[in-house]
Amino acid sequence: MKRNARIKFSALALAVLGLFQLSLIWDGRLADYVDPRQGILVFLTGLGCVILAQVVLSAAGKKFSKAVENEVHKEDLGAEGTWKSPGLIWLVVPLMVFVLFR
């Protein structure tokens, strides 16, 4: 997969995660899993994920993102910004558990 496609996939994963958490609050299912007093933390995390998704998406195809990425993964200086996305497929699991198991 090309770098830009990987970045977009990461942004999509973040957006889905964020919307999933917000939807749990919206339909009241959050109380099935955690104490409702933690709703504010879950809400802020959902919102944060959606905002980060926007930031990641806007970084696709820009040199600036390569520089930041190389700082985070300094061991890969030669790779010139490979946008590591190890095991992003795991992120479908929370949604799958929510939809399939009751």
């Binding site: 933690q38 995390t45 980060l52 497929i89 799958m96 399939l100 198991f101």
Partner: protein, 350 residues
């Protein structure tokens, strides 16, 4: 090195296959549970299966939803440390004498918003910027118990001030002792997985020199996203393991366990490790009328749950070698037990 690249390619293919297999198995189990649920069958095995499926889903989602906020906070804090502080700043604060390092580690854990799991990301960032291992380890271990969010939730919850205070004190003692033990180790690579800490090739803060505030904010947000996405699969795996174990353990082992006080305490300790609730979540669980649990079992649940659980073992295992992990787990369990016994001998808290 064609053979090395071939090895990497084959190991990554095996990893992807394993992921797909696990996900397919879970999807099958989920679909089966939906079919059985709608079929209305009342055979014993059907109700056992549905009960286990329910326990799995609640256990999984609870670990995931309670930890994700702290992971995101940890990713943000780590990104801020990476981009706003130079290596020299960090080394001036977190490197030096053992006593000083440990105290600064605890202060950082108290001030920075890093709870369950999030402290591992910040500790890794500090280590990569040259902080001493005792300081980083102290921050990592103290984080879940002493961070402002946890302390605030404990002090704000009715009737939980005593237990929250006990937990805070235990977390501080645990962190100090663990930091002092690690300070006795001679080589960093004997206790820390140095290969998971990218080697510093310069000053991270220099990347943004001369840049405007907007660029800095964008760089911090992007770095936080990268770190969050890097650790998120580990959280999902921890939630899978925790959820599965909660579904598979015999019902008699789930608190309140019948039998002597020792069995009750062991049951609640094991349940705290498997449920892997956040330090805020387990406080609310205890407060929400665990009237059927003994007071000492509640205490053990809070103390063990704060110090060691499934997700923390996976997160810390990314940074510590087995030796340090063994020190941390055995120290956490023995200190939790000791704190419970000391409070018991003084007549309890509530």
């Amino acid at each position: 090195m064609p053979s090395a690249s071939k090895y990497h390619a084959s190991s990554s293919t095996t990893g992807s296959r394993l992921q797909l297999l696990v996900i397919a198995a879970m999807a099958l189990a989920g679909i089966l549970s939906r079919i059985l649920e709608t079929s209305g069958g009342n055979a014993t095995w059907v109700s056992v299966f549905l009960d286990s499926a329910h326990r799995f889903s609640v256990g999984f989602e609870r670990i995931f939803l309670e930890t994700a906020p702290f992971l995101l906070l940890g990713a943000f804090t780590s990104a801020v440390v990476a981009h706003l502080f130079t290596d020299a700043d960090i080394q001036a604060l977190f490197k030096g004498g053992t006593r000083r390092s440990v105290i600064f580690g605890i202060l950082a854990a108290f001030i920075l918003p890093v709870g369950d799991g999030g402290s591992a990301l910040v500790a890794r960032q500090l280590l990569r910027k040259g902080a001493g291992a005792p300081a980083a380890a102290t921050l990592m271990v103290a984080g879940p118990g002493v961070t402002l969010i946890t302390a605030g939730a404990g002090l704000g919850a009715n009737g939980m001030v005593g237990l929250a205070g006990l937990r805070l004190a235990t977390a501080v003692i645990l962190a100090i002792v663990f930091g002092l033990i690690l300070a006795q180790e001679s080589g960093l690579n004997r206790i820390i997985k140095v290969e998971n800490l990218p080697t510093a090739t310069g000053d991270s803060a220099s990347l943004l020199e001369g840049e405007g505030h907007a660029s800095k904010a964008k760089a911090i947000a992007l770095a936080a996203s990268i770190e969050f996405l890097e650790w998120m699969p580990l959280l999902v795996i921890a939630a899978l393991i925790g959820g599965l174990l909660q579904a598979l353990i015999p019902a008699g082992w789930i608190p309140p366990v019948q039998g002597s006080a020792a069995w009750q305490n062991a049951g609640s300790g094991l349940w705290a490790i498997l449920t892997a609730q956040s330090a805020v979540g387990d406080l609310y669980t205890v407060q929400n009328g665990l009237t059927t649990w003994s007071v000492s079992a509640q205490r053990i649940y809070l103390l063990v749950g704060m110090a060691v659980d499934v997700k923390l073992i996976l997160f810390y295992g990314r940074i510590f070698r087995r030796k340090a992990l063994f020190y941390w787990i055995s120290l956490s369990l023995s200190l939790s037990l000791l704190a419970g016994l000391v409070i018991e001998s003084f007549g309890g808290l509530r």
